[in-house]
């Protein structure tokens, strides 16, 4: 089955980004496909490579990048939401790309299920 994922909150502040990651990992382990992970609202803050959490904590941004690299997952950051929050191409972590909201609607059309993680 093909899942589309919507992440609506930033890393650390809300558990949404953690739960979304665990869901995606579990779906892949079960042999499902991930059509796209779309980051909207404060979710765009998952994508900045400047993030540096304490060493004894999980690194949410790097975790996404690694997953994208290993499983060839499309991580899309909404351009309008990103501009409002100071996320630009030059601070994007590996595996993320900035694009329009149409990519979310398209994921709703193309994926078998769209699952939202937010606040």
């Amino acid at each position: 089955m093909k899942f589309g994922i919507l992440v609506s909150e930033g890393p650390y502040t809300h558990q949404a980004a953690d739960t979304a990651y665990q869901f995606v990992k579990a779906a892949l382990e079960k042999g499902h496909q991930i059509h796209r992970v779309f980051f909207y609202h404060d979710g765009v803050n998952n994508s900045t490579k400047l993030t540096e959490p304490p060493q004894d904590d999980r690194h949410i941004v790097n975790r996404w990048s690694k997953l994208a690299q290993e499983h060839n997952i499309d991580l899309v950051v909404c351009v309008a939401a990103a501009l409002r929050r100071g996320i630009r191409d030059d601070i994007l972590a590996p595996g993320f790309r900035i694009s329009g909201l149409g990519q979310l609607v398209e994921s709703g059309i193309q994926a078998d299920r769209l699952v939202t993680f937010g606040d």
Binding site: M1, A27, K30, T116, G118
Partner: protein
């Protein structure tokens, strides 16, 4: 319809809203409690009756990793079905539509 709630029933009215709608037409609906909503799956508190009532018409699931994180593993109401992240994925695959009550 898989209804997902992630807010504590003591902090927000989300669970109540979700149940108002889900119980009005329970056919094919399920409720999954994740993150801070797992407190609603525990007994001995002021909302236990609400979940017991909901279970009469809608199957109720709770995410085990979130219960364990919060130290609530020994307080789960009988009849609430426990799932891990893999079970969450299965529920999402089994239901045609998924609504996160944000």
């Amino acid at each position: 319809m898989l209804n997902i709630v992630n807010k504590s029933p003591f902090e927000k009215t989300t669970l109540e809203s979700c149940l108002r709608v889900a119980q009005a037409r329970p056919n094919g609906s399920a409720l999954l409690l994740i993150e801070d909503a797992v407190y609603a799956a525990t007994k001995g508190n002021a909302v236990e009756g609400r979940i017991r009532d909901a279970m009469k018409t809608v199957p109720v699931y709770a995410l085990w990793p979130d219960l364990e994180a919060r130290g609530m593993q020994d307080r789960v109401i009988e009849g609430v079905k426990l799932v891990d992240y893999g079970g969450f994925v299965d529920l999402a695959a089994e239901h045609n539509t998924i609504q996160s009550w944000l």
